[in-house]
Each structure stands twice: as structure tokens, then as C-alpha cells.
């Protein structure tokens, strides 16, 4: 398990940003944690990568990402099927609330590529002050536990749905904030007691075990029904 915390403090981030033009060497990192410039808020990349794997669709991914993100801003999502095999998901702070991905607003991209029948891969890269992060290439194949957003590409009938990109609307920000507030209220030990510098006291989310939250599914029994019965022949 990865519990190592790597912090990139504000000053370092600012220096790095200001020298990008002169020094383009990018130190890539697969550390689980990185922090933001503006809020010094950590992002747990393991959770982000898993959120994409489990998401049922863009709206579900928005919810998951905003539950992971521990800062005050809402993270918007853009989903774009670039071609028949490639999907790019962009997380961004929509600061001007225009519903568009502006380059300085980008936080991360997740690029998913179909590599064969029932197979694909995806990789996450950080942007802006998260630019040091680059995930491993995650392989995906039929049989893995994944949400509909990824699983749909395994279907023979798959057709890219987001050739016209989906983007979180400004109107949805309020709903996402409300969902996130409810989520945070369920885990007060994780989201409470922030110091002025954003550091957590009393245990970090990466090391403190919380009981799992469970989603109810279905029962595999029959229903009382008045529908006609057809007895199938062997």
C-alpha cells in the first residue's frame, strides 16, 4: 500500500511554475499525493485513478472526484472522445465558470485508449501545479471490476458517446457542493481540524482506516407477478 506523503509546498510550486519556460525538464512522479498551489490541498491520485475505473458515467465521476478532493473548489470534468479509441477526461477548476477547459485551469487528464478487443489502458497526468504527477499505465480488460464508463468500451456495440465533449456546467456546481458536503459530514474525522496551512491533524486520510461505505444492490429472487408464465423447453 502506498502511504508515503509527498508535499510540494507553495513556494516551490511557484518557483517551478515561474521557471517552466526556461527549464522544461519535468520531474515526473508517481507519488500518491501531491498538493496544490493555491490551497495546499492534497490530491490522492490512487483514488482519482480508481474513481475513473469505477465511474458509471461523467456525472458519477464528478461526484467521486469531488469527494476525493479535500479543498473548497469544485472540480469540473470534461469528457471528450477524441476518436473511436481515445477518450480524454480532464479535471479542471472552472474559475471563470464558462464551462470550458482553459489551459491554466487544468488539474489533470486521464487518457484512455482501446488497444484491442476487450482491452485498453489509461493513464493520468497532472497539470499546472500538479504537473509532477504521472501515473503508471493501467491495463484494463474484460472481467475486471469497473464501472459503465470504462466497461462500455468492452461491448461489441460500443460507440463513442462524447465526440461532442461533456463538460460540467456551472449550474451543476451547487449540486456537487451539496453532495460533497453530505459526504464530508459522514467522515468528520477526515475533513475536520484543518490548520491554517491546510495540514491535517489527528490523522490523514491516507493512513486512517475508515469503515467501508456500502452500496446496496439487488436481490436475486423472483417478484410476485400476474404475468403469464412460459415454461421453457430444454
Amino acid at each position: 500500500m502506498l502511504h508515503r506523503t509527498s508535499r510540494i509546498v507553495l513556494a516551490v510550486a511557484l518557483v517551478a511554475a515561474s521557471t517552466t519556460a526556461a527549464c522544461t525538464s519535468k520531474r515526473e512522479s508517481t507519488d500518491r499525493w501531491t498538493t496544490t498551489e493555491n490551497t495546499n490541498v492534497k490530491i490522492d491520485w490512487d483514488k482519482v485513478n480508481d474513481a475513473y475505473k469505477q465511474a458509471e458515467g461523467p456525472a458519477d465521476l464528478e461526484r467521486r472526484i469531488n469527494e476525493i478532493y479535500e479543498g473548497d473548489e469544485v472540480v469540473s470534468i470534461a469528457v471528450h472522445d477524441v476518436d473511436a479509441k481515445t477518450q480524454v477526461v480532464t479535471g479542471f477548476f472552472d474559475k471563470n465558470t464558462d464551462g470550458q477547459v482553459d489551459e491554466p485551469e487544468k488539474i489533470f487528464t486521464i487518457t484512455r485508449v482501446i488497444t484491442g478487443e476487450g482491452e485498453g489502458q489509461y493513464q493520468t497526468a497532472g497539470y499546472g501545479h500538479y504537473a509532477g504527477y504521472s501515473s503508471p499505465m493501467f491495463g484494463i480488460m474484460s472481467g475486471m471490476l469497473m464501472g459503465s464508463m470504462l466497461a462500455s468500451m468492452m461491448m461489441p456495440t460500443y460507440v463513442p458517446m462524447y465526440t461532442q465533449p461533456y463538460t460540467t456546467s456551472a449550474a451543476r456546481h451547487g449540486e456537487l457542493r451539496s453532495q460533497r458536503s453530505s459526504y464530508r459530514a459522514q467522515y468528520p474525522e477526515r475533513f475536520a481540524k484543518k490548520s491554517a496551512t491546510g495540514r491535517s491533524y489527528g490523522g490523514s486520510s491516507g493512513t486512517k482506516r475508515t469503515p467501508p461505505r456500502s452500496r446496496g444492490g439487488s436481490r436475486f429472487g423472483g417478484r410476485a407477478s400476474a404475468l403469464p408464465r412460459v415454461v421453457l423447453a430444454a
Binding site: 472481467g143 469497473m146 459503465s148 452500496r215 439487488s218 423472483g222 417478484r223 408464465r229 412460459v230
Partner: protein, 168 residues
């Protein structure tokens, strides 16, 4: 649409795991009206009898439904397939004999299926010696959100069992 007349005609199709097991909506309770059926493949799922968890890897999961008013059979379960404007009935043993040869040969077969009369099932010859897990009593699906992964769990308070070798 004309309802199928034979097991082979059932629209028993592959579906994404979470969709098949009725886990796409975020809710805290079980949907007892769910009627979806089909098959899927998962890397790992957990069988929960209320006291212990058993991990099953590389599983072929068959989501089926026991007939609400099915006969109380000691060694079989009467299945019901909701086809919209009709419901089709068939014994589990006949269904497996017809469909298992058509499905992938994953290491283990898991039946997501209520077993209201606690039938004791024999391993179907079509399983080809692969373990076949089934529950007794009601069987429900759950998705557990852990810190760094999600866990797919099937719960059978009456216990999980492997189908026994057919008696000669």
C-alpha cells in the same frame, strides 16, 4: 416480441458487472424488485455468509432469479426470467446444461441466485469440474467502498456452498 420457447432462445447476455448486479445506483438498501439477468466476468468478488468472507478470483458470475412461487425442490431451483410481458420458467439444472457450454471457461462459477428452499445442488457436468458456488436463502449484492478500492460482495445469510460432485 414473441417470448422465447426454449432455454437456448433466452436473451442471456453479458453485461457490465455493476449493471448486472444492480449496483449502478447509489443507495443504502437492497432493491428486491430487480429482475435483471445475464452473465459477467470479474477478477475478484467476495462471498459473505454474514460471518466470514470468501474471496473468489476469476469468476464467471451468472445473475439469475429464483421464482417467487417456485416449487420446493431438494436439489434444484426453479428459475424465473422477467421478459417484460411474460415470465419464463425453467429449472436451474436445465439452464446450466444449456448455457454453461456457451459461456467463457473462467476458473470459478458463481451463481448470484436466491435459493429460497435451501436446495443442495450437484455440480453440473457442463461446469467441467470447475467449482460452482451457490448460496442458500436470499442472495443480495453489495458494493463496498474502501479507501483505495471497491469490493464486490454477494451476501447469503444461509451460507455459501460449492456444488457437490454428482452421485453416480
Amino acid at each position: 416480441m414473441t417470448p422465447p420457447r426454449a432455454l437456448a432462445d433466452l436473451p442471456f447476455a453479458r453485461r457490465p458487472p455493476l449493471e448486472l448486479l444492480g449496483l449502478t445506483e447509489d443507495r443504502a438498501e437492497i432493491d428486491t424488485d430487480y429482475a435483471g439477468f445475464g452473465w459477467t466476468r470479474v477478477e475478484r468478488l467476495w462471498l459473505d455468509d454474514g460471518a466470514a468472507l470468501t474471496a473468489v478470483d476469476d469468476a464467471l458470475v451468472l445473475a439469475l432469479h429464483a421464482a417467487d412461487d417456485g416449487a420446493a425442490l431438494a436439489d434444484d431451483v426453479e428459475l424465473e426470467f422477467d421478459l417484460g410481458d411474460a415470465r419464463a420458467i425453467a429449472p436451474l439444472s436445465a439452464f446450466l446444461a444449456r448455457w454453461l457450454p456457451r459461456l467463457p471457461t473462467d476458473a470459478t462459477i458463481v451463481l448470484a441466485l436466491c435459493n429460497p428452499h435451501h436446495a443442495r445442488l450437484a455440480a453440473p457436468p457442463a461446469a467441467g469440474g470447475r467449482p460452482v458456488w451457490y448460496g442458500r436463502g436470499p442472495v443480495d449484492s453489495w458494493l463496498d467502498h474502501h479507501a483505495d478500492h471497491d469490493r464486490l460482495r454477494l451476501v447469503a445469510p444461509g451460507g455459501w456452498h460449492q456444488a457437490h460432485a454428482p452421485e453416480l
